[in-house]
């Protein structure tokens, strides 16, 4: 392990944590640190990856030495700003009640998960299909080739005489993860699957830490926040995506959950900086995976709807699903104006065949959610929570907003599988659970917040930014 490798880890942590602290308040209590470090690492990792974009065709050995000092300097500057700004703030008292001893069992169980995942990552060469065929093919090519070459389409590559362009079946996939991988691989000095896979383990830790910290800031009691992160960290498919590292879905899921949590904070506190944090996480989505763009549009659309005056919001909430159903009906009826548009979007117009498959697709999706080993009892718990805590949902406008976003997201997944040729991925189980994974942490956060104590779910909106900051720095 070299100084450059340590610097490679320090950079995203410092950069992201300082920005989160700037937008979310200086960390003072344990939960604050969890929030700042968890959310901060993910944000910092994405920003670090994107920072390599302007470098162009650069030698991989120069990536970290060129960028790390500048990014660390930014992090130090922001941290000093946060510190100076917060000197006169009064920290809120910490929660006096200690965690119930039984909950340590959950922490021990999480530690067992972490140990198994870590050992699997460190030992096994890159295993899952899309890891070596798509997501980590580019960084390996860059690392072994020595330069960050541009990946282009087949035709451009075939006609290129310079030999400086590369191609792959997945050439058009977003490159944030690839660039993050080359960041660490180049700092390590050679291509090592364990070094790259460690990123996914840290992502898992960051997801749990960030969710815990944000749930606490959203007034969920410590015990319930621990239950929530245990539930999230123990989900088998989440564990598999960490242990067999290399897929982009967990990154997307984490960004989406952090965006939703920051949005909830914004709705609860009324602070614009929380909106900025939510926007930062949401804007990263398309840089990770193509469907990230769809999640961004859905989230931005829902946020926009809930920023409208009440009357317009009600109209939008009624019109949006009607418009969606209308488009689907026109699509299924093969109405001339709609069909060419959807064809251009890659959607099949063989609607009769698609509808024939619909029952099998729905059955396969339901099996993946409720009957296989992927999610323990997660989807049953979501259904039960909605029934038991429906009153809490009706009382909380922020949670209603999040619920609407998740409903749109679920409708998108349903339409994707049932109404498009993507249904075959559901029938073969190859994609349906991975796409569900992208929304699972957000769904879990939503369910966890529904279990807030009645008095804490109606947390007062701080009247001044200073008060809000102080409130957000609670235990």
């Amino acid at each position: 392990m070299t100084f450059i490798y340590l610097l490679a880890w320090l950079t995203p942590f410092a950069l992201g944590a300082s920005i989160v602290a700037l937008l979310d308040g200086r960390p003072r209590a344990f939960a604050d640190w969890m929030r700042v470090l968890g959310c901060g690492f993910v944000l910092g990792a994405m920003l670090t990856a994107l920072a390599t974009l302007p470098l162009g065709r650069v030698a991989v050995a120069r990536v970290v030495p060129m960028l790390a000092p500048a990014l660390i300097a930014v992090a130090i500057g922001v941290s000093v700003w946060v510190f100076m700004r917060s000197r006169r703030e009064i920290a809120l008292p910490r929660e006096a009640r200690a965690m119930h001893p039984l909950f340590w069992i959950l922490i021990v169980l999480l530690a067992a998960h972490a140990w198994l995942m870590a050992d699997e990552i460190l030992l096994r060469p890159m295993y899952p299909w899309d890891a070596w065929a798509a997501w980590l093919l580019k960084p390996k090519a860059w690392m072994l080739g020595g330069h960050i070459d541009r990946f282009v389409g087949f035709d451009e590559w075939l006609a290129d005489g310079s030999g400086l362009l590369r191609t792959a079946a997945s050439w058009h996939y977003p490159e944030a993860l690839g660039r993050l991988a080359i960041w660490f691989a180049s700092a390590w000095g050679e291509w090592n699957a364990g070094v790259i896979g460690a990123l996914w383990l840290v992502l898992w830790l960051a997801l749990l830490a960030g969710v815990y910290g944000q749930l606490r800031a959203l007034s969920l009691s410590r015990d319930r926040a621990v239950i929530a992160i245990y539930a999230l960290g123990s989900l088998p498919l989440v564990n598999v995506h960490v242990a067999l590292a290399g897929y982009a879905d967990l990154w997307l899921a984490t960004l989406l959950a952090f965006a939703c949590l920051a949005w909830m904070r914004a709705l609860q506190s009324g602070r614009r900086t929380h909106f900025v944090l939510a926007a930062l996480f949401a804007l990263m989505l398309p840089f990770v995976k193509l469907e990230g763009g769809i999640w961004l549009v859905l989230l931005a659309g829902t946020i926009a709807i809930f920023e409208l005056p009440l009357r317009w919001r009600r109209i939008a909430l009624v019109v949006a699903p009607i418009a969606g159903v209308l488009v689907i009906a026109l699509y299924l009826a093969r109405v001339p104006f709609i069909v060419p548009l959807l064809d251009r979007a890659g959607l099949s117009t063989d609607t009769a065949r698609i509808l024939d498959h619909a029952p099998a697709v729905i059955g396969a999706a339901a099996e993946g959610m409720f009957a296989q080993y992927n999610w323990h009892l997660f989807w049953f718990a979501i259904a039960l929570t909605l029934v038991v805590r429906f009153g809490a949902l009706r009382r909380s406008q922020p949670l209603s907003a999040l619920g609407v976003f998740l409903a749109y997201g679920s409708a998108f997944l349903f339409a994707l599988f049932v109404l498009t040729p993507a249904g075959r991925w559901a029938e073969s189980y190859t994609a349906v659970n991975r796409l569900s994974l992208q929304i699972v942490p957000s769904m879990l956060v939503f369910a966890a917040l529904l279990w807030r104590e009645p008095e804490s779910s109606e947390a007062p909106i701080a009247s001044t930014p200073r008060m809000a900051e102080a409130a957000s720095a609670g235990p």
């Binding site: 039984l102 998960h113 198994l116 060469p125 006609a159 564990n239 009957a371 039960l384």
Partner: protein
């Protein structure tokens, strides 16, 4: 501290307690009819036994449904066909009888071992739907299959993947296999390296077949099949990142997830009805039961995860990274890639290299293993005008006889296209051609 342990960890919504208190208060303050009170008193004495009986019935029915247990069958099988390991003979690989066991000491062609037993007389498949099998030291590196021949298709061998047997006997419900029908004349077992997970050349470790039995329908056989399906070792598979359950390649029973969800919900519904609890109580209690069920499933998953991880440690632990990186499942392809890389090392680094093979998996794997070559999959040439626009490139063809080379015409082609080319390397399953564009 003691008090904290004894207190309930989740403080439920205070309104639940309030609702219960008001219900109790109403019951106490209301006018009491003596006859009704006697009836209630008798019912309240009966409530718990009735509830216990209903719950027992419910769970027996659920387990029976999940295991597909025949309702009319006895607990133990009425008929068994028992075969010792030594009753089987080795068809592929090498083995030696060790008492009643059959020790398998080596694999045969394509790293496969096969043991078989011709039944003295054909049996009715439907009469023996349960297979019970026992092995000693069956390695995690191998996949286990059951093979059989039917009287109506004596030249065809039917194969079904079995859950690997661990320290205990394994049970398998053959009625889940559509081919298990008619008259069976021969049965056996096949073992080979787990596909796309274990390098074939290092997969084998000696093991023994202790015994195999065919059972007539019984609850014990069905429950054994359910238990084996739930607890058997499931190796990692490429499918594992997409779905856990279907990644184990044998026919499955309903999972404990389904059983727990239905069982917990139905049990608490019964409790609510029999003990006259409120719907709110049902909801809250279900939430707590769900948490208990979750932890039970998580402990099962941790066991399965640890089981999968044992193979990873067996293959890779204690080795340096470079050595671990060379232990890949597709041994032959890696060797081909190594050959190609050595040859390509003589070429300028920017040379375009296109990869062709029969299966998409092989194309993508080869492209990955040929890095840092400037490589593309054969799909790059699928565009109709591709050959007109292309600069000179090398085509690496791995184990794909569909590409034929006409040396006289210097033309290389397959069913879709033909190119002007020269053969520059040819060794075993690997050929490399220099492509110059479309054939004239």
């Amino acid at each position: 501290m003691v008090r904290r342990f004894t207190s309930f960890p989740l403080a439920l919504d205070a309104r639940v307690a309030a609702a219960n208190a008001s219900r109790v208060a109403e019951a106490v303050s209301g006018s009491v009819d003596e006859t009704r009170q006697l009836g209630r008193s008798a019912w309240s004495r009966l409530r718990l036994p009735v509830l216990a009986a209903l719950l027992a019935l419910l769970w027996i029915a659920l387990v029976g449904w999940a295991s597909d247990a025949p309702t009319s069958a006895a607990f133990r099988p009425a008929e068994r066909i028992r075969l010792e390991g030594s009753d089987f003979h080795v068809v592929m690989g090498a083995g030696v009888e060790s008492g009643r066991r059959l020790g398998i000491n080596a694999v045969g062609a394509e790293h496969m071992a096969l043991q078989s037993h011709a039944l003295p007389e054909a049996i009715d498949a439907a009469a023996f739907p349960v297979l019970r099998y026992r092995w000693d030291a069956f390695p995690r590196t191998l996949e286990l299959s059951f093979v059989f021949r039917r009287a109506d298709e004596p030249d065809d061998v039917h194969t079904v993947t079995l859950p690997p047997a661990g320290a205990y006997p394994g049970y398998f419900d053959l009625s889940d296999v559509p081919d298990w029908s008619g008259r069976i004349v021969e049965i056996g077992f096949a073992e080979f390296p787990t596909a796309q997970l274990v390098p074939a050349d290092i997969a084998f470790r000696p093991f023994s077949l202790i015994e195999a039995e065919l059972w007539s329908p019984s609850w014990r056989g069905s429950l054994g099949s359910l238990g084996t399906d739930w607890s058997a070792y499931r190796p990692w598979a490429l499918m594992s990142v997409s779905a856990l359950g279907p990644d184990a390649p044998w026919p499955h029973k309903p999972t404990p997830v389904v059983l727990l969800a239905i069982g917990l919900a139905a049990s608490l519904l019964l409790v609510t009805l029999v003990l006259a609890r409120s719907w709110r109580w049902l909801g809250m209690t279900l939430a707590i039961a769900l948490a208990g069920g979750w932890i039970a499933l998580d402990l099962r998953w941790l066991g399965e995860f640890a089981d999968r991880h044992v193979l990873t440690r067996e293959l890779y632990a204690g080795k340096a990274w470079r050595e671990r990186a060379s232990i890949e499942p597709d041994t032959a392809l890696i060797a081909g890639a190594q050959l190609a890389r050595t040859w390509l090392a003589r070429m300028p680094a920017e040379t375009h290299v296109i990869v062709a093979a029969t299966a998409p998996y092989d194309i993508l794997r080869l492209a990955y293993h040929l890095l840092p070559a400037n490589v593309a999959p054969i799909g790059a040439l699928s565009h109709p005008d591709a050959s007109a626009a292309m600069k000179p490139a090398l085509l690496v063809v791995y184990d794909d006889p569909s590409w034929t080379f006409d040396a006289a015409r210097h033309a290389l082609g397959n069913a879709d296209a033909e190119y002007a080319a020269d053969l520059v390397f040819d060794e075993g399953t690997l050929r490399i051609f220099a492509l110059r564009g479309a054939a004239q």
